[in-house]
């Protein structure tokens, strides 16, 4: 199986539960070691290359946040870890973008599910990565945030960021222009583009019960 992603491209991974979408995402960013084959980001293996890791913005099933710290403290830490300058301004800007307002100084442990997800999204974006890998990023978001996040994806795509997204929310994401890959039993079985009408795509690929 090969999946090559170029700057500014949008790739959507879909498929039944347990088909291996999350596993592919984690392999791609270097969180798992492939048994065969390699993962490359800008020509380097993210498992060994710090500069390759700097390019990646990953958001998985877990929030990667410290529950005892506030959103601001969490993001400040992420910013420092990436060696960013002007930390306060950067953190404030990204939180504004996801409309996290009064909640930014409350310990993450006490936030509602949707706010935790928003802060987790901020964390994956704070260092302005060139490759976003997001696994079910829309989980728990309300309609307004969902629109905002999709707008944000459009904006970064226009800036030349490559985006790989795992999701079951096809209707919401179909408005983004890009490729869709159906994952089954650990590999890509079928690819199409979001130019295909969604109904047509669903007809072509009748999702089996695995």
């Amino acid at each position: 199986m090969t999946l090559s992603v170029k700057p500014g491209e949008f790739h959507l991974l879909v498929g039944p539960n347990g088909s291996g979408k999350s596993t592919i995402a984690r392999l791609g960013v270097g969180l798992l070691r492939p048994h065969r084959g390699t993962a490359r980001v800008a020509g380097a293996d993210p498992r060994s290359s710090e500069s390759a890791r700097r390019l990646i913005g990953y958001l998985g099933h877990e929030s990667q946040l410290y529950a005892d710290l506030t959103p601001v403290e969490n993001l400040e830490f992420a910013a420092r870890l990436h060696g960013l300058a002007q930390i306060d301004a950067t953190v404030a800007a990204i939180l504004d973008r996801l409309e996290v307002a009064a909640e930014r100084t409350i310990a993450v442990r006490r936030l509602s599910r949707g706010y935790v997800q928003r802060v987790a999204i901020c964390r994956s974006l704070i260092h302005r990565p060139s490759l976003l890998v997001w696994d079910e990023p829309l989980t728990g978001l309300d309609q307004a945030s969902l629109d905002r996040v999709i707008g944000l994806v459009e904006a970064v795509l226009a800036e030349g960021v490559a985006v790989v997204l795992v999701s079951h929310d096809l209707p919401e994401l179909w408005r983004l222009a890009g490729r869709v890959h159906v994952v089954e039993q650990g590999t890509i079985r079928f690819s199409a583009t979001t130019a295909t009408p969604l109904a047509e795509f669903r007809r072509q690929y009748a999702e089996p019960a695995r």
Binding site: G30, E50, Y58, G60, Q64, D68, E73, L81, A107
Partner: protein, 225 residues
């Protein structure tokens, strides 16, 4: 980013998480006091005198307080997958190791700093210059076993029953420093000159160097999935 900077950023974050609750330090100190008290009572006063037990109690308490606090360090990274964030950050594995090591050491030493005066108080130890040597021994011993504990905790936190698994593996590594510490402390409190314990200090220093280095070499193997 240099390893040192990365390590400092991570250590600072760890201390910030501690401060956010302050519960950890208070609890560790209370824990140490309670162990002191239990030891004090768990002897037959007619048979064992307090002074004779003092060095053992100091060292066992110090070591246990250390073990108990080490789990916390990686549990915090595990809770919501924060470790993934560290692994994907543009810092080397050694920055994570030294960051965690520094934070853990700072923590264990703070507990010891509270423990030592209490020990002097409870066990009615004379305030002489040898106490400074005892403090030095505690620091030297902690520097070594915290390095080992950092590596072991990084692994055990990913196993089921982490709270039990860490002490099981770590206790064997505590035997040399605790043994040497008790012996040296007994001499020092017995009024013997510090010169007599130089051999033991050398032993602890070698122990530290070997295990800090080994930890640094082995730590990456605990991180890679």
């Amino acid at each position: 980013m240099t390893t040192l900077r990365g390590a400092l950023v991570i250590a600072a974050k760890d201390l910030r998480v501690e401060l956010a609750s302050r519960a950890a330090l208070t609890s560790a100190v209370t824990f140490a006091i309670m162990v002191l008290v239990i030891f004090n009572f768990a002897r037959d006063p007619g048979e064992v005198s307090l002074a004779v037990l003092a060095p053992s109690v100091l060292w066992v308490t110090s070591a246990f307080a250390g073990v108990v606090t080490l789990n916390r360090s990686f549990a915090m990274e595990q809770e919501h997958g924060a470790m993934e964030g560290l692994l994907l950050a543009p810092v080397g594995r050694s920055a994570i190791y030294f960051g965690k090591y520094l934070a853990n050491l700072a923590f264990v030493l703070t507990v010891n700093a509270v423990l030592l005066p209490l020990f002097v108080l409870f066990f009615n130890v004379a305030l002489t210059g040898s106490l400074a040597w005892v403090a030095g021994l505690l620091v030297l011993a902690a520097a070594g076993y915290v390095a080992i504990g950092t590596v072991l905790a990084a692994m055990t936190v990913r196993t089921r029953f982490a709270e039990l698994m860490l002490p099981v593996l770590l206790l064997a590594f505590l035997v040399p420093p605790v043994l040497v510490g008790v012996q040296a402390t007994t001499r020092l409190l017995g009024g013997r000159p510090a010169g007599e314990i130089l051999g033991w200090i050398r032993f602890l220093a070698i122990y530290d160097i070997v295990f800090i280095t080994l930890g640094w070499l082995l730590f990456p193997a605990t991180m890679d999935e």
